[in-house]
Symmetry: C2
Subunit: 342 residues, 2 copies
């Protein structure tokens, strides 16, 4: 029986563990001290209460101090922590890593300091002797944790420069209810995972401005997909990545509901960023950071002559101005619509 | 002041007339005998009751017998009839056509007899001396009639082989609330307009089967977009057409609600095609015919060595089998999911 370790017992890490457990894979689910309560709860009930799903017998639970033990006999390491925690977690697990390991990441975002995608952050956080040797796979696509944990049909994509690693992950994950495709465009998949959160805010904004209408949202659905294709292409990725499950698919699910959209709706209804955050009790809205770091990334590409923000991502440009330069939403969205006349 | 004629006073024809009227364009809205009641109603109230929108003064109304009069001084002819009526309406208007005219069509579908797209049906229904001379523009994209009539932000795309005609139409239509882009891929836009109705049925089916879950619908959102790109490409069109407003945009709006989705949900919940149609009181479900004619078209492309249905459109293949060969929905959807393992 193959054995994997899931690093991080948050909602997504737990959901992936439950899915793999149901798929007859032995899973060591390891959590930090922040996960202690949920680990204890799962230990006593063999159930994840928030996900409303039971843990199969093949799942073992490990606490922070049991990391070495949790690594035993594992080949696939699933990293399911937030983008803020990823660098430090990579350093934490480094002592237990070897060249045979495959790291699979579900973390989304763009690194603020170096404007790296998450796979590059992981690569750079590895001990020097393992860089370029441990292979890194990104699992992208529209995966709501509660749905995959409850065996609702889910599609994703495994992206990596190493096709053997992708196939290994695919074999463990794929079931009658989960299908992960294959892509070599790991950075394209990662960029879509980050930028779709930003575009989901624009969908909320236009809903707040125009009411719950279909035409404006459909326009932004298509626009976000096209701009993501432009961005991926500028990064030497494939436009097909934006057309598929990691782009259109993930953008769709993010725009249907969730914090990014809710935040956008509040902005569209005239709230300031601060007021909106206040109403949302300062919950994390991933798209805000994605807009900030994404914009810096696009500016960098622009300075290298590889991108033209106004031409290739005018909607994203307006979103940045709304969030970071105080441009009124109505004026910004009107400017975007007017850019279509050019 | 430019003058246009709208041929067909159904909901979409009326909505486009109202939009153009609000845009200071003189519009002759002409209806057949089937439109007589709604024309009379608009005449007395200067309002379209179903669209809940007023008619500007620049809209004039014409009855069936006033066709010649309605054509006076017009250059742009907007054909807004159903695919079943398009050939006969083209013959009806033929006596009044000349080389200067531009025909703009919003009709969706694939012709059953010759497997033509609508622009080809129109072309072939023209008097021989006008074929290749009257230019034909397709207006595609996600346009709900009630929203465009009420000045909700709407984006579309004008597609034609004649760029001058596209620009002419664009100038009349574009406003602060409507933006029509430009495309040379008229057949690609038309194929998306037809096939998206079929894919919207699959979204309904999976909703009926799995409940109102995000992951499965997101998977089919992406899958439909990719298959439409494959289909358009096989027809010598551009994959970009499927990525943009005519593909992803229009598919999104169709899948959000409407008869195709409702019909699909009923199938997903175990109703037969006949039971579902019965529940829906035999209203037209465009995706059913689109599946039938679309499948014949793909078979034709396949016989010419230009397409492989199982490989390039496996989801569409299963839909055809559900609708026309009685394959049980659950089995069909499972077969589709399983095709992802290959």
């Amino acid at each position: 029986m193959e054995k994997v370790i899931v690093v991080g017992a948050g909602v997504m890490g737990s959901a992936l563990a439950i899915h793999l457990g149901n798929n007859q894979v032995a899973v060591n689910l390891w959590g930090t001290k922040w996960d202690e309560k949920v680990l204890k709860d799962m230990e006593s009930t063999r159930r994840h209460s928030k996900l409303e799903a039971n843990l199969s017998e093949s799942i073992s639970l490990f606490y922070e101090e049991q990391l070495e033990e949790a690594f035993e006999e594992t080949k696939l390491i699933i990293i399911a922590v937030s983008s803020k925690g990823i660098e430090s977690i990579c350093k934490t697990i480094s002592p237990y890593l070897n060249e045979e390991h495959i790291i699979l990441s579900v973390t989304k975002g763009i690194d603020e300091d170096n404007l790296y995608t998450m796979s590059n952050v992981i690569e750079n956080a590895l001990p020097e002797e393992l860089r370029g040797k441990v292979s890194i796979v990104k699992l992208g696509g529209p995966i709501r944790a509660n749905e995959i944990a409850n065996a609702k049909y889910t599609e994703g994509v495994f992206a990596s420069k190493n096709i053997e690693s992708v196939k290994y992950a695919q074999k463990l994950f794929n079931s009658s209810k989960f299908k992960g495709g294959i892509s070599a465009d790991i950075e394209g998949v990662e960029l879509c995972a980050a930028f779709k959160n930003a575009y989901a805010i624009t969908m909320g904004i236009v809903e707040g401005l125009e009411g719950d209408m279909d035409n404006p949202k459909a326009a932004l659905m298509a626009r976000g997909a096209v701009e993501m294709a432009n961005i991926v292409e500028a990064y030497n990725g494939s436009r097909e990545t934006a057309l598929g499950i990691a782009g259109v698919g993930d953008y769709y699910v993010t725009a249907q509901g969730g914090r990014n959209r809710t935040f956008g709706v509040l902005l569209g209804k005239g709230k300031t960023k601060a007021q909106a955050m206040d109403i949302m009790e300062n919950q994390t809205v991933e798209g805000i950071t994605a807009t900030y770091n994404g914009y810096k990334l696009l500016k960098k590409l622009e300075s290298q002559g590889k991108f033209n923000i106004r031409e290739k991502a005018p909607l994203f440009q307006e979103l940045y101005w709304i969030l970071y330069e105080g441009k009124p939403v109505e004026e910004a969205i009107n400017s975007y619509w007017e850019s279509k006349d050019i």
